[in-house]
Symmetry: C2
Subunit: 366 residues, 2 copies
Amino acid sequence: MSRFLTPHAAELPSTVPFTGPETLERRTGVPFRARLGANESLFGPSPQAIAAMERAARDVWMYGDPENHDLKQALAAHHGVTPGHIAVGPGIDGLLGLVCRLTLGPGTPVVTSLGAYPTFNFHVAGYGGVLTRVPYKGDHEDPDALVSTARSTGARLIYLANPDNPMGSHHPASVIEGMVATLPEQSLLILDEAYADLAPPGTVPAVPADHPQVIRMRTFSKGYGLAGARVGYAITNPELALAFDKVRDHFGMGRIAQAGALAALQDQGWLRSVQDRTVAARTRLSAIALANGLAPLPSATNFVTVDCGRDGDHARRVLAELGRLGVFVRMPGVAPLDRCIRISLGDDETLDILEEALPLALKAAG
Amino acid sequence: MSRFLTPHAAELPSTVPFTGPETLERRTGVPFRARLGANESLFGPSPQAIAAMERAARDVWMYGDPENHDLKQALAAHHGVTPGHIAVGPGIDGLLGLVCRLTLGPGTPVVTSLGAYPTFNFHVAGYGGVLTRVPYKGDHEDPDALVSTARSTGARLIYLANPDNPMGSHHPASVIEGMVATLPEQSLLILDEAYADLAPPGTVPAVPADHPQVIRMRTFSKGYGLAGARVGYAITNPELALAFDKVRDHFGMGRIAQAGALAALQDQGWLRSVQDRTVAARTRLSAIALANGLAPLPSATNFVTVDCGRDGDHARRVLAELGRLGVFVRMPGVAPLDRCIRISLGDDETLDILEEALPLALKAAG
């Protein structure tokens, strides 16, 4: 390893938290017919967002506004907070990295769920934090266990996604509010609400934006359909929101991304139509699973996690066979969650492909 | 400050390395008529790059390829290296941050020039490195002094931009090659070649891509006119290039940015036309300066640094008066460089505005 690396950097693996579908396509030489593995929005973004990005493409010779002023103003109005409560960054992935950078040193304890978002774990390891992983309780992250483990380990950070990825489950607002009320004093809760725009009413907790111990993460990648634009934001107390300015890449948000996110936010009618199509697609995808003898889990997200009814090896075979048939899906990484595969919602045409492929894949998987 | 921050993070200031022109416009309420301060390309990107980004906007529901495969292949072919010699990131700014993260710990010595790129200094401070700043020699960065200071301080990193920002000067390839030959064994040279696409022939040194102690930084923000897309890349030995995978935001490169950069690279005819217009605009901008009794410095970049002939206070007054007249320019931050203002090249229409405003600004500055 290069002699210029810090000892910590030298020890880190050069890994990708997720293998991209393009990489899989290059390996097999066959493009996927149904891209249902990355929880992208097959319903796409608002046409107004596309138009705004096309316009911005003609202005791309200019750097974006390093303060993200217009987007922050609009987000603040949308959420009923001040712009000082908002930090904009390159997706939740980027923001999670910045939170870890701001808060973790070598050996700092952190708590998450066993099988939860790997990219968070990547960042924790990257900044030298030490993770304790708490098992899911059934198919839900376990707020009580996360809090008690945070207390016993002295965790600086607690990560919880609500709704959850990869299981698609969610806790009602009251459960999260109860969790927030019992946070150990030394712990900051990262509440990843990437899927909140698609969750049932009553999912988003009433946590004051000024709360000193909570940082909520939102994204334009899921409900708003802008995954390839890389725009996320955090909502938190102004002191912590301002701290991002210490370490963020100030000119890191591109002009096209800023324009797309702003226009997407301004088209709430499109988001509502996506929400409606999400509910319908969940129903259809669940029906496809049931028709094949599988058990779809209830979903509060833009994917349905499907219990294949046996062990992880079986689910991995099903996933591999789907891949061979041109259907890209993913699955949880650890037992017992890995008895499932995770299928993103699609438009009718893409779900038709899934419907045709799933019985063949199950048969081939044995 | 938030009690969750590390001691180091708590000590960092919440500063922006550069105040954006949009911020200045919001302060005054008056938009700039001539945006000549950020070294953006007023000649714009290739129309093919714009078209590629418009097409990609319609596919933006998909994440970008986390491996940046197609862009890396094309860059490798363009530079006659392998894809393993390339690391793609969100602009040179983002890549500088990653290099600092990989190599610096608390107290690690770093050497740069006094008055050189502030964003590099921001990242060094952000990761706890300790900067020694070497004076410019005349209007050039001083390779000999950088190397000798690196030797005496035991510097892990040496930063040098060739061509230089903010002075616009450059060293011929042979000088950089001589510098590389004398690097202390413990030092990695970051050779920032942001402006190399616009430099005179003979500027880019013949450093083998496998060299263990050199990492070259390139960008699509300057010659290619894609500042608002955030695409940069490093060329270095495969061992160091691979190390970026330890810490980078793997899904951080957006789909539109990837498409724009690839199309821009494939339109070398456009880059050549920009190079021609750059030479012509340097000549005209220099003539405008001379006509006003100022001394334009020779430029190897997309800006001309203009010696206002007195001290920093005078140059700051000139800059402020230009701003009042709707002309955005910047200037070096420290003496003696700050006797100058730095004016980006523009198309004829924008230089007309400068030509009209400059005598008024000089008169008002006294």
